[in-house]
């Protein structure tokens, strides 16, 4: 029809992309390491399965009604897994192959950190829309203090994130990190507005079985622990590009041995639900950390001697993000700016550093 002639004309301008020369290499490596992917079936069978699953879900729902349980509890528990976890357990690290062009950064050292509280203000920018156009700024408070859990010396890091205007539920995320090497072993999340604990979870790695396990209990739920077990990535180069949730990024950077022209890669597990593959394998990728420069930076919290650190995920092809990390006040990120992306970018500034 003539109505869509112009659209069709534009669509004919589709380019013919050339196949990357290294893709077969990736496929061969994944296959050689025993990797496999469960591909979707034809829709007819899928619909039959969906029907069966629907019937099962209906039955479960009826049972749930009879037990008078609240569905929101389970949903909150699932939401707890969405945020990912950038620090990689030691056992996984031992299995992780090194990438030739990315020398590994030494493990984070917990003794480099010092306790304190840092307050940030983040400005959201979406396309041409800045916070002043309706997207409220976000305040973020990071607190780090020494403690213990289960008899083990630990850093307790808490992250309180809330919008300073508009809608949005505040979120408090507490993370216990082993004192010596910052390996996380327990995390608790609170929905602040709801004024109740969303979920608490413990994490453990079984290198022998190649599994990574969360155990959590939902307050107000059935009183039982729920365990989610995922397979660790095989010792292969099958790590994939993707975003990462740097909930613990200030802590991680504070523990890394930053220095003049220092660079290296930090492996990360992608624990966001969408990143976990159908076969339950957690993807692994590398974050490249590069110290570019050292300079004096002034923010509302004061004037600081800073490393200018560039972060990037080499597989993503994205521009680098730049952070200004205080040399002396470990675990503090002063200014952080992410280059414009397709949807959001952000700029953060440290408002205050409160040190004991």
């Amino acid at each position: 029809m003539r109505r869509w002639d112009r659209v069709r004309e534009r669509l004919r301008e589709t380019s013919e992309p050339a196949l990357g020369s290294d893709l077969w290499g990736r496929i061969a490596v994944s296959r050689a390491r025993g990797g496999t992917v469960e591909l979707p079936r034809e829709r007819g069978r899928m619909l039959a399965r969906a029907g069966l699953l629907g019937a099962m879900a209906g039955a479960v729902f009826l049972v749930w009604l009879a037990r008078d349980r609240r569905p929101a509890d389970d949903m909150n528990a699932i939401a707890g897994f969405d945020w990912g976890w950038p620090l990689v357990p030691e056992a996984v690290l031992a299995q992780t192959p090194q990438v030739d062009h990315l020398p590994a950064m030494p493990s984070p050292d917990g003794t480099r950190l010092r306790p304190g509280r840092w307050v940030y203000n983040w400005t959201l920018v979406r396309g041409h829309k800045s916070a002043s156009d309706g997207l409220p700024p976000i305040a973020d408070t990071v607190t780090l203090r020494q403690g213990s859990f289960g008899g083990e010396a630990a850093w307790l890091a808490t992250f309180y994130l809330h919008r300073t205007g508009g809608a949005g539920v505040g979120r408090l995320d507490s993370l216990y990190l082993r004192f010596s090497d910052l390996q996380p072993f327990r995390e608790a999340m609170f929905a602040v507005r709801a004024d109740r604990l969303e979920t608490a979870m413990e994490m453990e790695t079984d290198a022998t079985r190649g599994t990574f396990r969360w155990r959590y209990r939902v307050p107000g739920g059935n009183g039982r622990d729920t365990t989610v077990e995922l397979r660790l990535p095989p010792a292969s180069g099958a790590w994939r590009q993707g975003g990462a949730w740097h909930t613990q990024l200030p802590i991680l950077l504070g523990g890394l041995p930053l220095g003049e022209r220092r660079s290296g890669a930090v492996p990360m597990l992608g624990l966001a639900i969408h990143q976990i593959k159908a076969d339950g394998v957690v993807p692994l990728w590398w974050m490249n950390v590069r110290v570019k420069d050292r300079k004096q930076v002034t923010v509302p919290a004061g004037r600081f001697d800073c490393w200018i650190v560039a972060l990037s995920f080499p597989e993503s092809g994205r521009e680098e993000s730049f952070l200004e990390v205080s040399v002396d006040v470990r675990s503090g990120i002063l200014v952080k700016e992410v280059p414009g992306a397709d949807s959001y970018s952000s700029r953060g500034r440290e408002l205050a550093a409160i040190l004991p």
Binding site: L11, P17, A18, L19, A28, T36, L39, L47, G243, G317
Partner: protein
């Protein structure tokens, strides 16, 4: 003109031949990638889809019944793989981008579209995009589109009209 893929090649892959899999990649990988690229928002995502198809193919090929051409079956497999990968994308983009912005971190690694057609296609949700790519760019019949997407022919027509209309409005807005 490209030679059709033989069922013998499919049989050898089914028998576990890695050489046959590589032969298939050399013969059809480029075409399958081009298809994935048109359905995906970025080159990296398209490469991931093709990677998954070839890694999963030795197992998936057990379901190939030689009822149609091997390549048509492969192309449907690519389409389904792409749609599976994109299924959670809306939720992911909203949630992850927001959180990424809050934390000032990278998003999903999507690169900007490379051409005018790709830029237009990026305006469409995955299902409408698949319909318009398969029908208007790949030249499939509505029956083939319907089979690829697991929907009825009527639904294929509706999706195509919706997609074209949405794109027309995008162009009108830009022009205006």
């Amino acid at each position: 003109m490209t030679a059709p893929l033989s069922d013998d090649l499919a049989s050898r892959i089914r028998a576990g031949s890695g050489e046959a899999l590589e032969e298939l990649y050399r013969a059809a990988g480029g075409r399958l990638f081009a298809l994935a690229y048109r359905l995906m928002p970025s080159r990296a995502d398209a490469e991931d889809a093709v990677h998954d198809v070839f890694v999963g193919l030795p197992r998936a090929i057990e379901r190939y019944r030689e009822a149609g051409t091997f390549e048509a079956w492969l192309r449907r497999l690519v389409v389904r793989t792409v749609l599976m990968q994109r299924r959670g994308e809306g939720r992911r983009l909203t949630r992850d981008s927001a959180y990424a912005a809050q934390r000032g971190i990278e998003g999903d690694g999507a690169a900007p579209p490379s051409g005018e057609a790709e830029r237009l296609l990026d305006q469409l949700p995955a299902k409408l995009r698949a319909a318009v790519v398969l029908r208007e760019i790949e030249g499939l019949s509505h029956r083939e589109v319907a089979k690829s997407l697991g929907i009825s022919e009527a639904a294929s027509r509706v999706r195509l009209l919706r997609a074209l209309e949405r794109l027309r409005r995008v162009l009108e807005t830009e022009k205006g």
